[in-house]
């Protein structure tokens, strides 16, 4: 299969029009000794039908969540994606376009991003949201980096209850030596306000709080933690689950200065970890420091409302080495999926989805307790919690045998996630399968 449209005789005609004899002449500026004098060591080209067969066979080797109910979460969630999302996303004008640099022929994309920014602001309660960054982990790393920039401080406190993958991305970004990551140990699966107060000082740029946290727990001392942070003029950076915001208090109400999170749950498929989208929101005060693209409202020459990429002087193509972030391509199509998703579910739907997740999780807790299991932590949770088991790996293997994709393996527990896609029957099966295994 090839997508080159000009047949050989046309190619010849074009070459002749330039006074060239052959295609090789087009590469005479490349030193001979650098040229690859053989074919690439790849397979022969495949026709579309062959591609279908090969790719289908590869895909069939994976066990997917359509056939096995999935209780795995830990940063990626099996939420339902309405049919409208996929159908609209596939419109070529969206997905084969580049970044909307030319506003006159990109109003549709710009408006969709503007709607997206508004939705993220409304969910989080923040003033400003960007057009997306790569994913939850990199969004958090960018947030920490921004916090260091604006406070001119280096220390970032990262509690153990933050998704370990996110923390690791933050540590990797810290290779630039502009920030120093300080871990905070936690008891009972939540951050202790006392621990923060003990560690925070006037060199602390920010404290990261994930809420609900990696273990699914609500950070019950959030209010006190926030006070301690602001008393030191440090920033409160929150990582949140956007679905939870259907019922949970928005981060702005806790005094968050920067809010980030993984937006995959909003209409994007699991897709083995990507493409996802990191959302990024902050206060009016930090608006001109926010990384990534922003769409703003303005007018055209006739005074008609128009949308345009704005505050571009923040970005790498203008600020070059003085830009605080290097981000260029973002996750626009994933953000569009999130926008369509949030438009479909709407104000009532987001609440209903959040509530259902929580109610299913509560039901699961009751069933686990009835079956004699103990929860690892005794904390309020949203849609995830950890169940103590002796051998998490063996337990997961047994669940797989029973046709269930189990939980995330902690040292002595399995972390289960409950989305609105799960049913009581599936939860009963999970509890029974795990019970059968643990009794053996």
């Amino acid at each position: 299969m090839n997508y080159v449209p000009n047949p050989p005789w046309v190619v010849q005609q074009m070459l002749e029009s330039m006074g060239l004899a052959s295609v090789e002449d087009l590469f005479r500026d490349i030193p001979e000794e650098l040229k690859l004098k053989r074919e690439l060591n790849l397979a022969a080209p495949l026709a579309e039908l062959e591609l279908r067969r090969e790719l289908s066979a590869l895909a069939a080797k994976n066990l997917n969540v359509d056939t096995y109910p999935c209780f795995l979460g830990a940063g990626a969630y099996d939420h339902y994606i309405p049919a409208v999302v996929e159908q609209m996303l596939l419109r070529s004008e969206f997905y084969t376009a580049y970044t909307p640099y030319q506003p006159e022929i990109s109003q549709g994309i710009l408006q969709a991003i503007f709607e997206y920014q508004t939705m993220i602001c409304n969910l989080t309660g923040m003033d400003v949201a960007n057009a997306s960054v790569y994913d939850g982990g990199s969004a958090l790393a960018e947030a920490c980096s921004l916090a260091c920039d604006v406070t001119r401080r280096k220390k970032i406190l990262v509690p153990e209850t933050v998704n370990p993958r996110y923390s690791e991305v933050v540590r990797t970004y810290a290779l630039g030596e502009k920030m120093e990551v300080i871990p905070v140990s936690c008891q009972e699966g939540v951050v202790d306000a006392g621990a923060i107060a003990a560690l925070i000082d006037d060199q602390t740029a920010a404290v990261v709080i994930q809420h609900p946290n990696f273990y699914g727990n609500l950070e019950v001392e959030l209010e006190k933690i926030g006070q301690a942070i602001h008393a030191h003029k440090s920033l409160l950076v929150m990582a949140v689950d956007p679905i939870s915001l259907g019922i949970l208090k928005p981060p702005a109400a806790w005094g968050a200065d920067i809010v980030v999170g993984e937006g995959q749950s909003l209409g994007n498929s699991l897709s083995f970890g990507g493409p996802y989208l990191g959302f990024f929101a902050t206060t009016q005060k930090l608006m001109r420091k926010i990384p990534g693209r922003l769409v703003g409202e303005t007018v055209d020459l006739d005074g008609k409302r128009a949308f345009v990429l704005t505050l571009q002087a923040r970005e790498q193509h203008i600020r070059r080495e003085r830009a605080s972030s290097n981000i260029c391509s973002n996750e626009a199509l994933c953000a569009l999926a999130a926008t369509i998703y949030l438009t479909v579910v709407g104000k009532q739907g987001i609440k209903a989805v959040a509530k259902r997740c929580h109610q299913l999780a509560c039901y699961a807790k009751q069933q686990f307790v009835k079956a004699g299991f103990k929860l690892k932590y005794n904390q309020p949770f949203f849609k995830e919690f950890a169940v103590a088991v002796n051998d998490p790996q063996a337990a997961n293997a047994a669940l797989l045998q029973a046709g269930i994709i189990g939980g995330y393996e902690l040292n002595d527990a399995l972390l289960f996630a409950f989305t609105e896609k799960r049913t009581c029957a599936e939860i009963d099966r999970l509890v029974a399968a795990l019970g059968g295994m643990e009794r053996e």
Partner: protein, 484 residues
Amino acid sequence: MSKLSFEKSVAGASAFSLPRCDIPPEAVTVEIPQNFLREEDPLLPELSEVEVVRHFTELSGRAYGVDNGFYPLGSCTMKYNPKINEWAARLPGFANIHPLQPQDTVQGALQLMYELEEMLCEITGMDSFSLQPAAGAHGEMTGAMIIKAYHNSRQDYKRKKMIVPDSSHGTNPATANMLGFEIVQVKSDERGLVDLADLRSLVNDEIAGLMLTNPNTLGLFEEDIQQIAEIIHAAGGLLYYDGANANAIMGITRPGDMGFDICHLNLHKTFGTPHGGGGPGSGPVGVKSFLADFLPVPVIEKQGSKYILNYNRPLSIGKVHSFYGNFGVAVKAYTYIKALGKTGLKEACENAVLNANYLRTKLTDHYDIPYNRLCKHEFVASARKQKKESGVTALDVAKSLIDRGYHPPTIYFPLIVEEALMIEPTETETKERLDEFVEAMLAIDREARQSPDKIKAAPQQAVIRRVDEARAARRPVLKWSPEK
């Protein structure tokens, strides 16, 4: 004017319903303390399904993609995005798998990633690849981290300077800055290539490396690349290949053979995956074997017939993405490379270079082309002649192209060319399309002389006219507010 979804909202309208709740009524509870609950519902639009569909259909009508027409946006490689790739990425066995599933249950996905890495090694002449970076700039950052980690591993802490050409893309200096490198700019010479004398004068034992695209942002092949590599390596630095322009050399020459130690590729440029209005991209990073230990974790390894994710890599820089990068994009690129195979990638490259030179030659008499010689996949024309004669700028030319049904080229980049029009046709355009585009460009040149005001008033055919960008930036309105 297109209303926002929020403005179309009708209280109580809905496009969504949940399945019937099968939790026994006595078991339905909410166990969240009151002070953690929202007091007010989040403000989201309320629309019926048909209205949602019409809304986004309407928005799509106000956008323009490669499927709509010619999109010669320089440095972005807006080639055709094959539809079979979309089908592949949406197979349930790829789209609906959780990244943390037991590895035994995702062998197909791991195999695809492993094989894609191998194919990218072959295409670039590198020894190991990681698919983790989510975009080109993310790949650059990963590469810069590897450079830093490499020097650190040798206790060579004085290497704090990164060289970038003055024609480089803004992400190069921005990336180096994120890693704490001081940026040193090397000049371009009269050929538009790295000035070797200047480069020699800049290197010393504080140089960490050089970031270079080849062909460079002018679309010109850095003919002295072997000498450049020698200069950098002799000084103890590493050579980083920014793969933004890899479409111009694929199958002809390889960064690994030119002397580069690290490279990234943009799957969304070179391997035909769609740009999605700004992303997702994918920016895999490849390295020579002596740098393999620094790649992000996990790496995919093959043990017998089994693929595994190895996290135990003490020298690794760590993770740059929550999971394994943009897998869905990797599926599309894999499908693309399989489709084109060992002969097709080279053909794609050859035709991209052919198309660029064809356009360059045809425009030569009408537009100034500052470095007018054999180019690779793109070239940079200038509207400075038009500007001088009639005041028509590169921006005006771009807007006039919109009226004529085209997406404009990249303008005002690279910074070293005034009134730059950076044109990259890609290989998937027919001669007829190119000829039509040339006609349009010539017509603009004519009109610029005859009635410049008309060009300066363009576009007239688009859904809006030129926008007030200063107003947007002076008093930013970045979200919709109901009280307006």
